[in-house]
Assembly symmetry: C3
Homo-oligomer: 337 residues x 3
């Protein structure tokens, strides 16, 4: 793709060679003459000056003299657009691979692809242009929307519903039984797990993440929410729209999460908690059962509290040995008087 064509695609301003052929996108430090890269911020822009990159995306107001650049409003968005053009994902061919096992009554849209060794049970519906990866198992009655990517080796338990453009990475398990038991007669007996799971449009779910269906009622992952690898979302959790949940986070049963919530990695939230809109949970924060984190607050710690407060306590904790010594001296002095 020529630099000129690229600039047009992202509504950017080209400065330099309009005819340069670009074949791939790569990081600044390893880019060569036929590579596109990007630079944002002083440090990256300084690094860009000595880069071999054939073309560099830069933000408005910046310049990299002696290099071919494309100036855009939003560097990363432009990079994403150009990545789609330069590195289109190698989509598998439409059709059902002969080794797949597909129930006769399955309803498949146009251009659906079902990979080798996949299993699609009875009553499943799959929207147009959706890809089901090799070895995935789609349970009875599951409904999947259009233009979804289900990577290899995913399990979707019976009855789950996925919207459009949902991405599910390898090893994820959607719609498993909630972890609910009745303790009676000296042992745990299974509480009914009869509910379902709804994954709305544009959700992405990471590798080996698990999301349980409701026990009664529905587990919901709201539109546009992104969940990283190895997360656990329990039965009857409701997560709002456009949340970001990083790896190894666990959310226990019936907890409610609002919109635009951010959870850094390793966060733990107990059952029946409420995380309001726009909350940020810093890494490894822990929220107790039934607790409420108010709209827009950033919290941290075990248990999670406003981050400024936690940091203040930590600073005092670090000086605690000193404080104890001071008290000892005071005490001694008083005794001596």
């Amino acid at each position: 793709m020529h630099t000129q064509e690229m600039a047009r695609l992202v509504h950017g301003t080209l400065d330099g060679d309009p005819e340069r052929e670009i074949v791939r996108i790569t990081a600044l430090d390893s880019a060569g003459p036929s590579d596109l890269s990007f630079a944002e911020g002083d440090r990256a822009l300084a690094q860009a000056a000595s880069s071999q990159a054939g073309c560099i995306l830069i933000p408005e107001g910046a310049e990299v003299p002696g290099h071919t650049t494309i100036t855009v409003k939003h560097v990363r968005l432009a990079l994403a657009r150009l990545a789609e053009a330069l590195h289109p994902r190698a989509a598998p061919p439409p059709g059902i691979h002969p080794s797949a096992v597909v129930a006769p009554d399955v309803a498949l849209g146009d251009a659906v692809s079902v990979g080798p060794q996949a299993v699609i049970e009875a009553g499943v519906t799959i929207g147009a242009s959706t890809q089901i990866g090799a070895g995935s198992v789609i349970g009875r009655g599951v409904a999947i929307g259009r233009s979804c990517i289900v990577y290899p080796r995913v399990t979707i338990y019976p009855g789950a519903r996925l919207g459009d453009r949902v991405i599910v990475h390898s090893g994820a398990v959607l719609g498993g039984d909630g972890f609910g038991y009745i303790f009676a007669e000296g042992r745990y007996q299974k509480f009914p797990q009869l509910g379902d799971l709804l994954i709305e449009d544009d959700v992405e779910i990471g590798c080996n993440t698990t999301i349980d269906r409701g026990s009664l009622g529905t587990t919901v992952i709201g539109q546009g929410t992104k969940i990283d690898n190895l997360c656990q979302i329990a039965h009857n959790v409701r997560i709002g729209r456009h949340c970001v949940i990083a790896a190894l986070t666990g959310i226990a049963g019936s907890t409610d999460v609002g919109d635009y919530v951010v959870m850094a990695g390793g966060v733990g939230i107990s059952d029946h908690a409420r995380i309001e809109d726009l909350v940020v949970l810093a890494g490894n924060a822990v929220v107790g059962a039934g607790k409420v984190i108010r709209k827009g607050t950033t919290v941290w710690g075990i248990p999670a509290r406003p981050i400024a407060e936690v940091k203040k306590q930590m600073a005092h904790l670090a000086r605690l040995p000193e404080l104890a010594e001071k008290v000892k001296q005071l005490s001694k002095r008083l005794r001596e008087e």
Copy 2:
């Protein structure tokens, strides 16, 4: 199913319409005239008064005037019994799916079901009425009891033994190598992982959970113990009977867990620890290597200590800035005298 028949099944007392046809179980707030729901506690019972549910299970001593109710001793147990009657799990048909790969010497009991794309290696024995899900891989010499459910895409490494009525959810990996190495000559070399894994009767194992076999000796999960999603149980761990272990919990090598132990989510236990009977580990508690948690105690924190003590320390920690200020004032006053 008629309400009268339902009352009989759970040894309950019907109050209201004995002929009402109930077709499913659902939550109180979404229940309609042909749904069964349940109410326990003041809040749910108040909510029940305005519910549209066709029939409501209630505990002894409660009443919901104007509604058809069934009074029982144990509401949730009754609900579980009725769920089995109203929502029997759609069991796959007995027999081996033609796409499965099953070694010729495998010993299968009556009515065993082996799903599509499953792999059963040589020397495996599977008890009557057990289901092996699609894409699961059962290693050489594994022994599985009667009436087990192995969901799709489970791996059982060679030699593991499972009792009766064991449930293994999708993505779980049972009997993998322990994480043991010898550091010598500047690198880590594999310590022999030759032991085995024993899962006793009535155990349930969550999605994507991993349980390693012993290095020498046996890893044991005791009867009736329930393990949630994404837990890690290391080599030579011994877990007693009727324990409950919530998601994202990790238990390191050779740790001993008693009976009736409860672990909330995100708990971490180091190697060679001993958790005695009836202990409760609150969420994200961490137990150090070789530590002992005494019978019946409830612990929390990093490191885990009796929860009352931890809460007291936390309260003092919250007031620490104030304490530091007080010491500063005292100090100043003494200097001024």
Copy 3:
């Protein structure tokens, strides 16, 4: 195998019956007359005296009178060598199982084994004597070296490269998309995930562990590093050689880990951190974004600091209620004067 032959194999000194036939290795407390066991340290050596083991490996300077023993320099290394001889892993037969789906242009070395239901996509190269387990999915263009073991139900995303003698346990997912988004126009849009993944020689990766490829650039796992079950390694992380990373550890994007680093279980490291050579992170330690942990230090806590400092603070924290009481008394006394 005779005891004499065993002694020769490990360059050890036999004391006792040279003709005893040994058939397996087991733990001291369950060993019988045809079993080999081992004893290191005073406690194990005392236990060895009453063991029924047919032969016991012991370190130089030790003795177990009345038992057949082999004295060696490094007991565990000798045990590992003898385990290979007595318990060779039952390797699957070379060749492609007829149920596997293998692209026509795949390049397989000598004696490669591809298990049932496996899927090998176009352009894959696999070195001699490597085993691909049942149900594993090897993506387009993946390169795997010699003598690797890929256990059943592993996914390797397109383009990943594995060295020689790499072991990948069941359920692991290698080369998935990094968790990177651009927040614009009120929603998260996918940042390009175009990089790759390099796993060097002699790495072992545990069950259900996930390792993402670089977004731009490469995620690297250095030679000889061992990673336990259920760990998450994010995009563009670089891990050095001969590290040991225990279960449920998460390492966020672009973090740099040196050589010979040890991470106990449940460790969390944020993005862009630097963990220098020979660092030890104790269980559940948390390292913040961009932080540096200096060479050779042992750290613990949230956030992670030198372990001696953390323990001192914890001791003071435990005495904090007492300190608060003391200040109260001082304060009272001053008021009374």
